[in-house]
Symmetry: C2
Subunit: 182 residues, 2 copies
């Protein structure tokens, strides 16, 4: 597992904007920070992904303060960062080639949001042949409305993990991943 | 909308295997057949996708009878069919180049299952720049277990549509799509 990369997706200040509604799992960032510290201690590969939105009203546009990565996951010098403009971290970026060049074939994924950019990146990573572990309590999402019903953030999160687990990845907790990182 | 392609994903006999558990929306195939008839009548582009599983125990392996497309969506001569081995119809296939070569920039998507191959293909189509309409009642999925809880097929289906709608596609009904196809 020494060459397993920690992939941290879109943990950006703009996602605290109230426009996104209620979020689940307020501990997600603290869990990401624990994993990031463990990866740094073990000198394992760390990859940061930053969403540079092209949507007119998004707080994650590059020129807005919400584009900034949150303090808990701020990159250290030498840690690669890939900017992207769509949900998948693999589209419009050099991420796949970079991972292959580094001999990385397995990923531990954390970030925001469970069902949009995290799910899309996990699906594509798996379909490209990477072995993916998704840290369920290192992700979070928002409540969403559809067809006249509101689904809570926790429902959105849990059902999306149910769709991913066993098909695209293994969903694990932060504690489970840390127990295999020592 | 005359050059909007109907993309029919993995509507294969093997998905009737009881091993997959309870499914929602038994009308999905009938709705797909209505759309397919309308597309043929209008001579609009139709793309068939067939999953050629490489999983040891899958009824969708190429040498098994479950690999066959269901009767409701059987391709007619001249209609292109792309085989794939992963969830995304765009990975390991020439689908993206084919659509671009045909000048197709918008897709209407139906198929199985909502949260696995359909969701993955919709996400990737959108991120590659296609304009995507997903026919909610032209898709279906199965109940799934996660973290000690069973989510019904209808819950899996609805929550996954909630994650996709407005972010990756517009979710519409068969009737809504047909009303714009006449």
């Amino acid at each position: 597992m020494t060459n397993t990369a920690l992939l941290i997706i879109d943990v950006q200040k703009g996602l605290d904007d109230p426009k996104f509604g209620q979020r689940n799992n307020p501990d997600a960032e603290a869990n990401m920070a624990l994993l990031l510290a463990a990866w740094r201690e073990q000198a394992r590969p760390i990859i940061h992904i930053q969403h540079n939105s092209v949507e007119p009203n998004s707080p994650l546009r590059p020129e807005r303060p919400g584009n900034a990565l949150k303090d808990e996951v701020r990159p250290m010098p030498g840690e690669p960062l890939f900017g992207k403009t769509v949900n998948s971290a693999f589209i419009g970026t050099e991420l796949e080639a970079y991972l292959q060049g580094q001999g990385v074939s397995s990923l531990v994924v954390v970030g925001l949001t469970t069902d949009h950019c995290v799910s899309t990146s996990v699906r594509m990573a798996a379909n490209l042949g990477f072995d993916v572990t998704l840290v369920g309590d290192g992700t979070a999402t928002f409540e969403r409305d559809f067809a006249g019903r509101r689904w809570s953030a926790e429902e959105m999160h849990a059902v999306n993990l149910a769709s991913l687990d066993g098909e695209f990845c293994q969903v694990r907790t932060t504690a489970e991943v840390l127990a295999h990182t020592g």
